[in-house]
Symmetry: C2
Subunit: 160 residues, 2 copies
DNA sequence: TTTCGAAAGTTATAGAATAACGTCTCTCCA
DNA sequence: TGGAGAGACGTTATTCTATAACTTTCGAAA
């Protein structure tokens, strides 16, 4: 299995640039409007691999960017990004994180470190398959899966 | 696979009685105090297989039971029930549902119908195994799993 | 240049959860 | 029997998360 970038040291500015470029290309292709605000929110979400709360984003927009922003501003931008598969919402944290493979239809599967708070996104068909099989076994038609695992990432295990 | 009771018509009062009796036995065994309030909250959570919000519980305690209750009253009772494995929290709904197999160490896996809101609890080792394997593959030590699937249950599919 | 619609601003409020402190009531032990 | 201590619950206040409803702005197309 390929080790996800999120759990290794890496040039993170590259992640951000790639994510923004991919997002622009994707929106172009789909006729979705990636406005300055939406792009900025996406950039903020991508500033690390740690899920970011809506009110954290709001704080940066208000204080750093000097933009007059209220909660709906942020939530609307996040809704747009969610709809277009550019970010994921982490239900167990009430927070948002950039999607590693925008465009691909997929559900997010996340490993969340309780120490450094990094969220590692997985794409394991085996997990989805096991869930789908179980659902079908009881006649349930699965539409969306939430898989969030808390624990300790490799780096934090070593440190401890 | 055995069909979970939650997705079939059944004598639900039996569920409630069983759940309360099991809870008493379990707490007795573990030296945990299942007070009147905690038992009542557990009963309310078990009144259906639909996850119930903390403030719904609060409403019943205040209005029906006539008890003076504020949010901490409910959250403390829920914390106790969670710690003792008697209820599960559904992160994607901010709601709580009775645990089907208290005492067993297990993570909840839930199928949540978006039409009737019933939560069907699964116990599929295959799902947990697939997740654990993926986590270990990247050196992540998994401690808690959240698996929540939204979709349509068998009854609602038929009705539609 | 008007107009139409989407995006963003604005105000207010709903919903979920916890912090901090006070009070009561057991049980245990002297 | 009668405190001492601990745990449970009450109370007040606040924080965090999210959305409803309405207004204004802006840009592209007619």
């Amino acid at each position: 299995m390929k080790t996800p970038l999120a759990c290794l040291p890496h040039d993170h500015s590259h992640c951000v640039h790639t994510a923004l470029a991919d997002a622009e290309a994707l929106c172009e292709r789909q006729g979705a409007r990636l406005t300055a605000l939406r792009k900025r929110v996406l950039e903020l979400v991508w500033q690390s691999h740690k899920p970011l709360g809506a009110y954290d984003i709001l704080g940066v927009l208000s204080e750093t960017d000097g933009r007059r922003a209220a909660p709906p501003t942020v939530y609307r931008a996040l809704d747009f990004l969610l709809e277009n598969g550019l970010v994921h919402r982490i239900a167990s944290l009430n927070a948002f994180v950039g999607c590693n493979h925008p465009g691909d239809v997929h559900q997010g599967q996340f490993l969340i470190c309780r120490s450094c708070h990094t969220a590692i996104e997985l794409q394991q068909p085996a997990i989805g398959a096991a869930i789908s099989a179980a659902a079908e076994g009881v006649g349930f038609s699965a539409e969306g899966q939430t898989v969030e695992v808390v624990g300790l990432c490799a780096s934090c295990r070593e440190a401890a």
